[in-house]
Symmetry: C2
Amino acid sequence: MTEAEIAKERERLADLALEIAARRGEETTRAALVSETRLTRARIETIFPDEEDLFDATVERWFDPEIAMMEDVLASDLPVNRKFYEFIARRFVRRREEYARDPGLYRMLCELGAARYERVRSFVDLADHYLCEIIAQAQADGHFAGLEIEDARSLISQMVSCYTMPDMVPLLEDRLTEDKLGSIVDTLFAGLSAQNGGARGTRDLRAA
Amino acid sequence: MTEAEIAKERERLADLALEIAARRGEETTRAALVSETRLTRARIETIFPDEEDLFDATVERWFDPEIAMMEDVLASDLPVNRKFYEFIARRFVRRREEYARDPGLYRMLCELGAARYERVRSFVDLADHYLCEIIAQAQADGHFAGLEIEDARSLISQMVSCYTMPDMVPLLEDRLTEDKLGSIVDTLFAGLSAQNGGARGTRDLRAA
């Protein structure tokens, strides 16, 4: 097999592994792939030398569409607040669709991702990196005044976490909407800065 | 036993049930309470007629200090943005301390609460009710202009969820800080309103 053939077969088998996982309700092993295909164990092991390689291939298949979405948004000519909204919303809508299509599989993938977060980490880091690019563009337009990019990223990540953490889709379901996400992004652009508004304060409370 | 004696014994046994759960790493049953005390099964069943009554008693013991915290804040003479911050921060700090004291027990309590959310629901509803009181006060001061209280509550709950959802403490650990919570509350007071800032937009993206 050429490298291109191996890469293509790897994608096909990763998709098949997801289908099998959906049907069996558990993570697909290389042994399960052998029993569900006409391929030999040797052939499967050429494509996935370690068990983790199969897991990594399915993680890539899961995240590839999200990477494309983020890159499309970054490459667009939208105003920066629109970019910011689309950057979060497109991935949220896609996950909501995936959850609706097969809730059991979606929950299982969330659990697998949490249990082996180190295999997912590079995708989360890439999303953070792209988010920082949007924050830098917003700051060039005068938003998020006075904040270090990393501080802005951390605060923003926490405020939009309901729309970016995969587990929130099954947990909050209909309480998550594009309208609310739009309002949250508007709030960030209208209100987030390094200015101390005094919420944390210094004086302790006493009875009125 | 008088009603007051039963109520006091109920609290004592609920505290003991939490201690036993921490030691054994599993939910405490009435049978476990019998085997760990000198009390008879009949006596335990007088105090906890159903298994769920023991669970409910431990849930109350968990939430009672949080209810006191919320009521102290509501009864204070702080400015409304300070009230808002303290309303979230005091419970967050208490949970962070509980988690630090016994991470395994904390995680187990999160799991039990999620699995039997209907027994916890009334406490969540009470916290939402108090939050609406603070929002109404804030709106009287001109904040969150034009929003229905329920819409404001939903948006705010989502934006501060990292500091109110118990599971976030073990998940995010040091990434959650009082400083960041203060900045988030400042952002809400500076930026949240019914005004459409255009993040959601109408025009779709096209390449730049």
